[in-house]
Structures are given as structure tokens and as C-alpha cells.
């Protein structure tokens, strides 16, 4: 069985490839380039295509699968109603999959399950990284600024948020920048 893994992130593609390599009887082909993808697809003639949910080439590929005369066998999205749970899990993990019609579900499931596991593992890696970079702190910063405004100006929560947003808009800045200024000013004033 030939499996094509399409992902613009080479790092994630190789993590998935590594995960799937333990499967017997599977040829894995990784495509990370958008250009020439349709020609590659015709060449590979895969039984299953796994790609990241947000891949910008999905519309192009779906159209290709729908009308391609190059592919003798139609490819369908793996969205059989019977497999709803599997699909929810795969969307949750950020995997979309296209499967040649007629391929037994029993053969598809282990592949999809593995792919989901690897996608989730990659997502965890990524979010750890993001956390390390302090990206997730943005939301906390806004909440903190909101609490400061609520306490110091006696505003209800929506008003406090509206004030932050309005200031951001007036100054052409992002809310988080304003929130940062509020928190910094508050810390300076209260000497903490």
C-alpha cells in the first residue's frame, strides 16, 4: 500500500513518516513542496493521502481527486458516517486523509490512528515550544490588565475589555501591547 504524506512542515512530515514506518507492506512518500504537487501525486498514485488539516493545497487536491482522469480509481475523503469518531479524532489532531475507494476500513484505521498519534505528538512539541517562548502569556497579560482596570476604575469586565480594545484601536496597536503597558504602569505605580 502506498501512502503519500503531504505537509509543508518537513519536520512534522518526517515525524509522521517515522511513525508509519513500523507498518508492514507500506511505501511512504513525503511531499513537502506545493509546486508540482499534482504531477507528483499522479506519479505516486497513492492509496492513501495524509495531509495536515490546514494545508493550503487541500482545495486544489480535492478538486484533482474529484475530476482527475489520471487516477483510475477515485479517491474519497475518509468521511464515512460509520467512522465519525475516527474523523473527529483526526480533525482534532489536525489530520485530513483521502483514501482510495474500496480500501477496507480495517486497513485504514491503524494507519489513521498512527497518524493521529504522531500529529498529536508533534502538536505537543510545538505548544511546549510556544509556551517556552512565552506566546501563551499574551492572553494572561490581557486578563491581568483587565483585572487592573476593573479594580482601579471599578469597571465591569466587558467595559474593562472594551476600554483596552478601544485604546488599542485608537492607537493602531494590538490589544496585548496596550495590556502590557497597563500592567507595566500598574507595577511601576504600585512598586511591585
Amino acid at each position: 500500500m502506498r501512502i503519500a504524506i503531504v505537509d509543508e512542515s518537513a519536520a512534522r512530515a518526517s515525524i509522521i513518516e517515522e511513525g508509519l514506518s513500523e507498518l508492514a507492506d507500506c511505501d511512504l512518500v513525503v511531499i513537502t513542496e506545493r509546486r508540482g504537487m499534482l504531477a507528483r501525486m499522479a506519479e505516486i498514485d497513492p492509496d492513501i493521502v495524509l495531509m495536515n488539516l490546514g494545508n493550503p493545497s487541500r482545495d486544489m487536491l480535492e478538486e484533482y481527486f474529484a475530476v482527475s482522469r489520471a487516477l483510475a480509481r477515485p479517491i474519497a475523503m475518509f468521511v464515512d458516517e460509520a467512522d465519525d469518531e475516527a474523523i473527529v479524532a483526526s480533525v482534532e489532531a489536525g489530520v485530513s486523509s483521502y483514501v482510495v475507494d474500496g480500501l477496507a476500513a480495517g486497513r485504514i484505521r491503524p494507519i489513521l490512528d498512527l497518524a493521529i498519534t504522531r500529529f498529536n505528538a508533534f502538536a505537543r512539541l510545538q505548544s511546549d515550544l510556544a509556551e517556552a517562548r512565552g506566546k501563551l502569556a499574551e492572553r494572561e497579560l490581557v486578563d491581568k490588565a483587565k483585572r487592573i482596570l476593573m479594580q482601579s476604575k471599578g469597571l465591569p469586565e466587558p467595559k474593562a475589555y472594551a476600554e483596552l480594545r478601544k485604546t488599542a484601536m485608537d492607537q493602531g496597536k494590538r490589544i496585548v501591547n496596550i495590556a502590557e503597558a497597563v500592567v507595566t504602569a500598574h507595577e511601576l505605580m504600585s512598586g511591585t
Partner: protein, 403 residues
Amino acid sequence: MNTQLTIGFLPLVDACLPILALEHGFAEDEGISLSLVKDLSWATVLDRLLYGHSDAAHMIAPLAIAATLGRGRPAQPLAAPFVLGLNGNAITLAPKLAQRVRGDEEGLGDPVKVGAALREVALERAAAGKPLTFGVVHRYSSHNYMLRYWLASCGIHADKDVDISTVAPPFCAEALELGEVDGICVGEPWNSVAVEKGVGEIVLSTSQIWRRGVEKVLALREPVLEEKREAVLRLIRALCRAAAHFVDPINWEHNAAILARPEYLDGSPELIRRAIADQILIARGGAMIHYPDFMFQYREAANFPWVSQAEWLYSQMVRWDGQTFDRASADKAARVFRPDIYRAALLGTNEPLPGASSKVEGSIVTPTVVGTQQGNMVLESNAFFDGKVFDPQRIEEYLAQLP
């Protein structure tokens, strides 16, 4: 307690209403905490909607109907209670081709003349075994249907004489540049991006093909609409305020700057402002023209989901998917558009509500006063360029007389 709603969108100027409803606090005023999720393909926007990552989506109208009818995937009923805008798309051709088919016309071409000139090229190229290729943003998009409608009316068979393939909006300019396509039909700012790069020239606006063509809708899963009905009504009021704000010239500059931000369109504020202002730069270094109602986001109850619009889209789906007309499917498609919800949301406000929920598309050629449920309404021309009229009571007859 605010209601949380998540809306998916693609980076296009006509994703403006949900974005502005959030940014200007219109949603917040209605007790809605909006979060927006940007994606780069409609397949992803649809997946997120169907599997609950989002509550609603900025969506090409035909895709909402296709999903409901189960085209390309198992059927899931969607509902569109609000139209996010009409038209706003253009047909951009590679410069040499554009110059050849445009002739001596100043500004945008005449759809009939450009079509006739294009037909010559298309037939030449088809005979030489190198058919003209067009990129559209999705199989189930108004872009695909408008382009095909125009080509067919001009004697170019959209399946036999030319190739039409799918290109995601952000890659349209690149596809022209690489010669992968000879033309694109896409929304703004992506035509202007091609013009700025000097890889394309705009020959037509889709509003020249159908003066009031339905474009994007706010789509929800039907069960979600039922479950969150009250919140959706409030969201519709917020979107309506955003629409009024969007079309007011005083706000153009500011709104363009908001839409241009990295988290939204991640593009040039200048190109976005032009689209909002109905200004089109046809060719690099050329003159800027003003084409009124290039985008149509608010006037004449533009956001009202006319059932006849859904039925026209269904007729085109039948036409180009090579299927036969089927009453039950036509009814299902018609029910995707939900004027009842739109009315419920805006009854008692200053927004006009038409008396009817369906109209004969293409029948209005001069400003016409129409009966209303509330307020006053004058509808301007909604003509198709070939003068044909779509009567939703007679879809089969309509299909039979199309080329």
C-alpha cells in the same frame, strides 16, 4: 454572560464583516465574544465547521449548498442566515492575453466583446492542443459559476474548450506568473496583487456578469443554528452594523488598516482600501478606475439571503456537475438560505426587510421600489450581462435554454 462564538474565515476582503464586528466591538455590544480562525483552504474551513472547531464560517455560498446536498462528502445540512456580500471578484488574465482580448476598451472590458475576442483565442489554443487554463478558487464557488456562465454565454464551452482548475486565492498571482494558468477568477485583494506584480491585468469584474451576484455567506450547521439561535440573531445584528460601517467612506482607511493586519489578510492596506472603495487598477502603471458596486456589502438589504439566490446556485450546480434537475434537491438547496432567521434578527430595527423572500433574478433593470415588511427598499439593476432572467419557479425551463 457573553456567548462565545468562533467563526472561520479565509484571508479575503469579504471576510470583513465578522472581522469588523469583532474589532469595533459590535459583537461585544450584542453580548457575543467572537473569536476568528483563519485558514487557507475552504476544505479546512468546512471541516472545522462540520466537526465543531467553529460555530460559523465565512463561506463561498455554493459550498454551503454542496455540503448540504452531500456533493463530494456525506451530506450535512448547513444554514446560511446572512449573506456576507455580493460580487467583489474579478477576472484577471495574463497581460498579453488581456491586451489582446480587451481591444481598445478603456477601463474594464465589455463582457460581450471581451468574450467574443477570448473565444477566438480559446478555440485557437484548443485546436493547437494547448487549451487556455483558468484558475478558480473552488469547484463550488461563485467564481467558478460566474466564469463558466460568462464563457458559455460567449460560446466557449467551459469543459471542452478550456481547462478550469482550482487555485487557492493566495497563490493566484504566482500561478499567473509561472504560466500555470492564463487567467484567474478570484476575490480581492488577489487580483490587485497580480496587477501590482505585473503578472496580470483585470479585464472584468464579476459584477459585470451578474450585477447582484451572491458571493459569501455566513454558514452554520443547522443543528448549531437551532441550538444557538438567540446568539445567532445577535450576531446578525452585529454583522449588519459592521456592514454599515464598512461601506461608509469615513471608515475606509481605518478598516483597510485593520483588515491588512497579519492575523487577518496579512496584506497591503492600500490594495484593500481600493477594493472597499470600488477602485480598480486594471494594469500596472495604468489608470485607476472607479467601478460602482464592485463590492456590495450593505445597500438594498444586500445581506438578505434571498432563496432565489440559492436556487440559482443550485441550477448552476446541476448544469456543471452534469446532473439532472431534481425537485427534492432543489428544495433542499433552497432551504439552506434562511430569510426567516434574518428577519427574526432585524425585525424592529432600522434595517429594511423585503416583503418577499424570493425574486426573479435578473429581472430588474431600472431602480424599482419593492414591497417591504419594514422600512423602504429600492432595488437597482440585478441583470445578467446576457439579459437572461432566472425564475426560481421554472428552473428546468431556465436550464433548458442555457447554452
